[in-house]
Symmetry: C2
Subunit: 276 residues, 2 copies
């Protein structure tokens, strides 16, 4: 294939966006396009500049024989702030209030392009964390977990409340649901997480943190480590949280079913120690 610079820029941009966190040797591009490495290097400089300028990500270059270029998706703080403030405003609609201190979020979770953007925020936040796998709890954590995992280019492990016959041997643990103080079971197929993985736990909603705490214990059962914890929304909760360190994008700071008020603020993502 022989493309001129203009064609190469379009094709390389698409290639990077669909191969995040993957080191690509320069020779790959020079062979595909039958072009000199010096031309490819100039193409890369253009792409890197636009990606950084537009808060899409960055292109990292590793020198040497085993070197190459890697696209790292990132979102800068300004764009993250805008995205989250817009989401918070949308979440403050009192029609979302449901019995039991829950809020209706399926319109947000059901929007694939919004979820892609939110996933990119977490992928950006945990880009240096050496994540090997993303873990989430069925059902509502799944869309966000896939968005994060796609941008980090790692597999997803789906934990379930029920035991399912269609996944072979499973590992189950008991955990205490923090808000309901009830013993529950969660399971993960043995084959669906490699031992010694570094696991990013992603979920849609956290109250006391019992489910997240359970997933952390499950990670340990697979001789693996927790790379971090990210939740879309955390709810006000009178007692101490069961999880110390987590990154939340939004926080339900007030919720009153009787007066039908709902207040949503920026989550712990925006606290100084979490900004990287």
């Amino acid at each position: 294939m022989k493309y001129r610079r203009s064609g190469r820029l379009v094709d390389m941009t698409n290639y990077f966006l669909s191969h995040p966190h993957q080191q690509i040797p320069l020779t790959h591009f020079s062979e595909v396009y039958n072009s000199a490495k010096s031309s490819i290097s100039e193409d890369l400089a253009i792409i890197k500049e636009v990606f950084e300028d537009r808060s899409v990500g960055t292109i990292e270059t590793a020198a040497g024989a085993s070197g190459g270029v890697t696209f790292i998706p990132t979102v800068d703080q300004e764009n993250t702030g805008k995205l989250i403030d817009k989401l918070s405003e949308r979440l403050e609609d009192p029609d979302r209030l449901l019995p039991g201190g829950y809020i209706y979020m399926m319109d947000v979770i059901g929007d694939p392009l919004l979820i892609q953007d939110l996933g990119r925020v977490f992928a950006s936040r945990f880009r240096f964390a050496g994540v090997d796998a993303v873990m989430t709890m069925a059902t509502k954590g799944i869309p966000l977990a896939y968005a994060v995992a796609g941008h980090l280019n790692v597999p997803v492990s789906i934990v379930r409340h029920e035991h399912r016959i269609t996944e072979g041997s499973i590992v189950s643990i008991n955990y205490v649901s923090g808000s309901k103080k009830r013993i529950q079971t969660m399971s993960l197929a043995r084959r669906s997480l490699k031992p010694k993985s570094n696991v990013l736990i992603i979920d849609d909603f956290m109250k006391a943190g019992g489910t997240i705490r359970g997933m952390m214990d499950l990670v340990a059962e697979f001789q693996s480590t927790v790379a971090g914890v990210g939740v879309l929304t955390e709810a006000v909760h009178e007692e101490e949280k069961l999880v110390d360190k987590y990154v939340s994008l939004t926080k339900l700071s007030q919720m009153n079913e009787k007066s039908r008020t709902l207040k949503v603020e920026r989550g712990t993502y925006f606290e100084a120690e979490n900004l990287i």
Copy 2:
């Protein structure tokens, strides 16, 4: 912002890829880049040519005052064939055999970038179907459904076996699981599908088709229509399928637990009447 052509091509490529099936007025680009419409038109011609050449999609142009350009993700038959043949080979591993005529597929379903590619195949296949929403069954249909919906730029409705308290008013129906001949219940939050939608049903696995049949009935409960049915894998089944028209990517044509053999072929996607 003032970009030269090279910068515009990178930025516009990213913009199109993240805004599929959305009509964008030419003035959007000429204003963002402070460029003449004639320059933008030349940029668009370059992007369209590369996208078509590389089986990424196409750019459609609508003329007139309300006109603009729309990126439609597509995958050509050659690339679809290669993707599906590679997947089929991977699925033929006898270690996947699980009791009860199931096969282990979480490694495939757990791979976000592969699922993105498979989702693009369905989005391409149903690109003219006027899809307003994608419906799927929790849990394992969710990743593929989101990938399809993302490429079609429509919301997702997640149907569940259980009733969940966190979604407000729900609509439930009974259905007969085709392979087990057992009456089961499926539910969908009333708010999660707009009436009069044209719904694409996506699932990971189909045996007799009872679950799909149930979702079709549920669609009708929402005064909506079925735009199509797509499944990743269909299994051999001795009796007649409960669904007449569906698009499957792969077909488990032989499966024998005792002799530990598994044969996977191309699905109905590749039949003449399904190729569009």
